[in-house]
Symmetry: C2
C-alpha cells in the first residue's frame, strides 16, 4: 500500500473477518491497523498475534496496547527475527508481502501486499502460523 | 527459506532464467545469491537490479561487486525505503516474500517466499518493476 487509500483497503480486508484473524507481524506500530484489530477482538473474532521479541518494545509499537486490550500475543525467544508480515482472515484469505505494519512503511516506502484466497497457497501459511503459535507458547519459554 | 536447502532451491529457481532476471531487492548481502546473479549475467541473461540507496553500502552488501561485474543497478533517491524483495524470471515467474537476500535472513530468521507463475498475479509486479526502473534512471537524478 502507498498512502491512505491502500491503508483503507487493508483495514477493510481485515474488518471482513467473521471468525478469526491470525497475525504474524514483525513490526507493528500503525495505530489505524491496531484499532482495526482491537475492533475485531471486541466483536468476538478470535485474534491471535505473533510478533518479534526485539521489535515489540520499540518505536511506538502497538503490541502493549493490543495485549492490554486482552488480545493474545506471543513472541519468539531467538536472536533471529520473526520476519513474517502476514495475516490470515477466517483461515481462508491470506494477506502477505513486504509491508511491515508501521506508519513509516505505509507512508514512505515502496512496498507490496498480496491478497490470496487460493487454498493451496494459503495452506503453508496456516501451517506456519500454527507451528509458530505452538513454538512460542509461553509454557515453552526457557529463562 | 530456512537453511541451505531453501537457499539451494532459490538459487535453482534463479538459474532457470533464460532471457531476463528483474530484481527489486531491499538488502542484498548473500554471496551465494550474488554468484547466481553473476553467472546469469555471464550467460547473457539480461539482469536488471533495483535496490535501496541506504542499504547498498552496508553490511557486506553485494551491490558493488555486481556493479563491478557489469550488471545494471539502479537505486532510489528517497528517505523512504525501496522495501520490495522480489525477483521476476523471464517476465513470467515471480519470487517474492518477506526474505531479504542476506545471510542473516536465510540462516536465522523465520521468513516466507512465494513462487507465483499466474500471469494475473505477476503482472502488477512487472509493472511496478518497469515503473521503478524508469523512476530510478540516473538521468533523472537530482543533486
Amino acid at each position: 500500500p502507498r498512502g491512505d487509500t491502500s491503508l483503507s483497503r487493508l483495514v477493510r480486508l481485515l474488518l471482513s473477518a467473521r471468525r478469526s484473524l491470525d497475525l504474524c507481524i514483525f513490526s507493528f506500530s500503525c495505530p489505524q491497523l491496531a484499532r482495526a484489530v482491537q475492533l475485531l477482538h471486541r466483536r468476538g473474532v478470535r485474534v491471535r498475534l505473533v510478533t518479534d521479541a526485539q521489535f515489540m518494545g520499540l518505536h511506538g509499537s502497538q503490541i502493549g496496547r493490543l495485549r492490554h486490550a486482552g488480545i493474545q500475543v506471543r513472541h519468539d525467544q531467538h536472536s533471529g527475527y520473526m520476519h513474517h508480515k502476514f495475516a490470515i482472515v477466517d483461515q481462508r484469505m491470506l494477506i502477505t508481502g513486504s509491508l511491515n505494519w508501521t506508519t513509516q512503511a505505509i507512508q514512505s516506502n515502496r512496498e507490496n501486499v498480496l491478497v490470496v484466497d487460493d487454498a493451496e497457497c494459503v495452506k503453508p501459511f496456516l501451517e506456519e502460523f500454527e507451528k509458530i503459535w505452538e513454538e512460542y507458547n509461553p509454557a515453552n519459554y526457557s529463562f
